[in-house]
């Protein structure tokens, strides 16, 4: 499957770089905020109120988190289902991001739930509520998270199979664990495609249903965003952000680990993005035209500005950039476009869940509290830290062996291949 010269390898670098130290600090502050929220409750830790029951923990941690983890299923679709083998080097980083992303979505959601200890309730058949959009989202996310863990298992097996070495008294089980790994490796190899397809289907379902969530509040949503096709827009935007997210990470990792960026592969995968963005944009604008909602853009208020920001910087600019072949082959412009698209998705999800949410009877308004911000920042930092830990210790990032030797000759490079 994998091209002969590209092998996923643990990256041998020092864990605590300057950036990692800053992130650890932010994670620690976020953790304190998280524990504070669990102890004192939502009133003391958030600015949520009766008229604005959802804040940034839902809009950013959950909604944006799920959208930005879409790289996992889009890359799997392209590389595994459509067998575009040249993108295989991108599947593992994308899978790791999706796995960690969804894990942190659940962690973030727990902070927001008033009775977080009841989070298992939707799994009990007697409490199933098939009419609830949230029930579908919750169940899909939960199943998908487990599918992601299963998809990730081969990476762990690859790391440990053949050299299981448990410490002390446990060492007598070495051969037992070894054979268990071999059995699961063989079973997984057979059923992995089933999991991969399941992941794609589950993703399509809950990515779109996240959009359906707000369809239930027609009288509270600003007309620039309220449309019955919100689920379609959410699905399309999630698919559009999948590859840019992979590009974004790949360039960041290359920069952080002093590796040669896979410009050719990234430029190649970026060619799909402007077409996806074009589809998304035309449906979104067409819908606005059909609903006669363009007029709301002439009013200057927070909604119209947020909408122009979302579409202008988040969709049109990167689409124009990526339609040009020369820009696609420049790491700089690839990175800028990816950043724009990710920004656009983030702003879109914040817009739909917070900016568009304008209930008619409200004296208060919502602005996130300090605790809400530090918890959100802490969760993102924590995710990056675990990602860094995993790519240093597990075979995730593909290093081009042949070209790599050339890179190591340059004085800048610090990375070497482990093992």
């Amino acid at each position: 499957m994998t091209n002969s010269h590209e092998v996923p390898t643990p990256i041998n670098v020092k864990y605590f770089s300057k950036g990692a130290i800053v992130l650890s600090f932010l994670t620690l502050i976020g953790l304190c905020g998280y524990i504070y929220r669990l102890i004192v409750g939502l009133d003391a830790s958030t600015n949520l109120n009766n008229q604005f029951p959802w804040g940034i923990w839902i809009a950013i941690d959950v909604a944006s988190g799920v959208a930005l983890a879409a790289g996992g299923f889009t890359t799997a679709l392209l590389a595994d289902v459509f067998h575009k083998d040249k993108y295989h080097s991108l599947t593992r980083p994308a899978l790791l991001t999706a796995m960690l992303g969804y894990t942190f979505v659940v962690v973030g959601l727990l902070a927001d739930l008033g009775r977080y200890y009841n989070v298992w309730h939707p799994m009990i058949p007697s409490m199933w509520q098939g009419n609830s959009v949230l029930f579908e989202v919750g169940l899909c996310v939960m199943i998908y998270l487990n599918v992601l863990y299963c998809e990730f298992l081969p990476i762990l097996i690859e790391k440990f199979m053949g050299h299981v070495n448990l410490p002390g008294i446990l060492s007598r089980y070495n051969s037992l664990v070894e054979s268990l790994l071999r059995i699961s490796n063989r079973t997984l190899y057979r059923v992995l495609s089933l999991f991969i397809i399941a992941g794609v289907v589950l993703s399509c379902l809950h990515q779109s249903s996240l959009g359906t969530l707000m369809v239930i509040a027609p009288y509270k949503m600003h007309p620039l965003w309220y449309t019955p096709i919100l689920p379609l827009l959410f699905l399309l935007s999630a698919i559009s952000v999948g590859f840019p997210m992979v590009i974004f990470e790949s360039i960041l990792s290359a920069w952080s680990f002093k590796l040669k960026p896979e410009t050719k592969t990234l430029a190649s995968i970026a060619k799909y993005t402007p077409f996806l963005l074009f589809c998304y944009l035309s449906i979104k604008l067409g819908d606005l035209a059909i609903r006669n909602a363009f007029g709301y853009l002439t009013e200057i208020n927070i909604q119209s500005v947020a909408f122009v920001l979302e579409i202008g910087i988040g969709v049109i600019l990167p689409m124009v950039l990526l339609f040009q072949k020369s820009k696609r082959h420049s790491i700089k412009y690839l990175f800028i476009s990816a950043c724009c698209i990710i920004f656009g998705i983030l702003v879109n999800r914040i817009n739909v869940f917070l900016i568009a949410y304008t209930p008619p009877f409200s004296n208060d308004f919502y602005f996130p509290s300090l605790i809400e911000v530090i918890v959100t920042v802490g969760l993102i930092s924590g995710l990056i830290l675990i990602y860094r830990f995993m790519v240093i210790h597990l075979p995730v990032i593909s290093v081009q062996r042949v070209k790599f030797n050339i890179v190591t000759d340059t004085p800048k490079s610090k990375a070497t291949i482990k093992g």
């Binding site: 289902v81 977080y116 009419n131 609830s132 359906t212 239930i216 509270k220």
Partner: protein, 304 residues
């Protein structure tokens, strides 16, 4: 593209087509059973009669043991200076200028959970903690609740309040329609307490007739509309006023039931699980056929 692959793709397309046609046949069976809302309980609020004494607020507070406020708290008329919303401390609040005639001809009206016929909150609730009972009551089971607050997002009347101050066991707080009382053939506490009979408790069907009789008897006194008769599929609590009251405390609503907005999408996607299964089958066939192609290509390469 070789023949095998084309055959597979054809089969796959057929599967998807079948999946999209089949569900429309069973559509009718998934529709909600129409319930007998005429015989459910309801309350008619006549805002032209209400004098703003806030006795209903006091009765509600005592019945539901919400606060320790003294009786004098509920006689303070300065509360009418601001527009209040129901909260964790009060399931119902009386506001002044309920209708649009704000300066002259001051009038009052109370707001609380409307106990909709087709409640958005019930449709939204992830665990079925909110239910519509046969008496017409929308009731809440805190034990099931996970505290996601989607019901608050869904409610078009902005009624449910949340116990944000509770660290461990926060609840969604809203009018219970005094379920225990009406279950035992008594009136809700607020209705019982009203000194001027601004609140009429009864069967919803009778109340609608009663309301239209009132309007016909005194057309100059009333704006010709019973709020809640048809709004979002009807509500158990309904309102009469002397002018168009779509302004301060009640939102302008269409007749379409809110749950059907999301449920039609949901049940469309999940009809007998066919669409997801069809997508699964389609992707599986695509994956399989391309893999076979690649294998054959490799074999050919080796031979040549």
């Amino acid at each position: 593209m070789n023949k095998d692959r084309r055959k597979f793709l054809k089969m796959a397309t057929a599967t998807v087509a079948a999946a999209t046609i089949l569900p429309s046949v069973s559509e009718a069976s998934l529709e909600h059973c129409e319930e007998d809302f005429d015989n459910a309980f309801g309350v008619l609020v006549d805002t032209t009669v209400c004098i703003g004494c806030r006795n209903c607020e006091l009765a509600c507070d005592r019945q539901n043991e919400l606060t320790d406020h003294p009786k004098s708290y509920f006689m303070d008329n300065t509360v009418f200076d601001s527009r209040r919303r129901p909260s964790v401390e009060s399931y119902t609040v009386v506001n002044s200028s309920f209708d649009s005639s704000s300066t002259d001809n001051k009038s009052f009206g109370k707001i609380q959970c409307m106990h909709c016929n087709h409640p958005a909150c019930v449709s939204a609730c992830i665990v079925g903690a909110l239910t519509k009972c046969k008496h017409g009551v929308v009731s809440y089971d805190a034990w099931k609740c996970i505290g996601c607050r989607y019901c608050m997002v869904a409610c078009p009347f902005q009624i449910p309040a949340y116990e944000y101050k509770e660290a461990l066991k926060p609840r969604v707080m809203k009018c219970t329609f005094c379920y225990d009382l009406i279950h035992n053939d008594k009136k809700p506490a607020c209705v019982e307490s009203c000194p001027v009979e601004a609140l009429t408790f009864g069967k919803r069907g009778d109340l609608i007739k009663h309301a239209h009789v009132k309007i016909e008897a005194a057309p100059n006194n009333y704006y010709d509309h019973v709020f809640g008769e048809n709004e979002i599929g009807g509500t158990s609590w309904m309102y009469l006023a002397n002018k168009d009251f779509i302004n301060y405390d009640l939102p302008k609503l269409e007749e379409e039931k809110i749950p059907s907005l999301t449920e039609s999408i949901q049940h469309g996607i999940f009809k007998s699980f066919l669409p997801p299964l069809a997508l699964y089958g389609f992707l599986g066939l695509v994956m399989h056929s391309i893999r076979q192609d690649k294998k054959k290509e490799e074999e050919n390469d080796e031979q040549s």
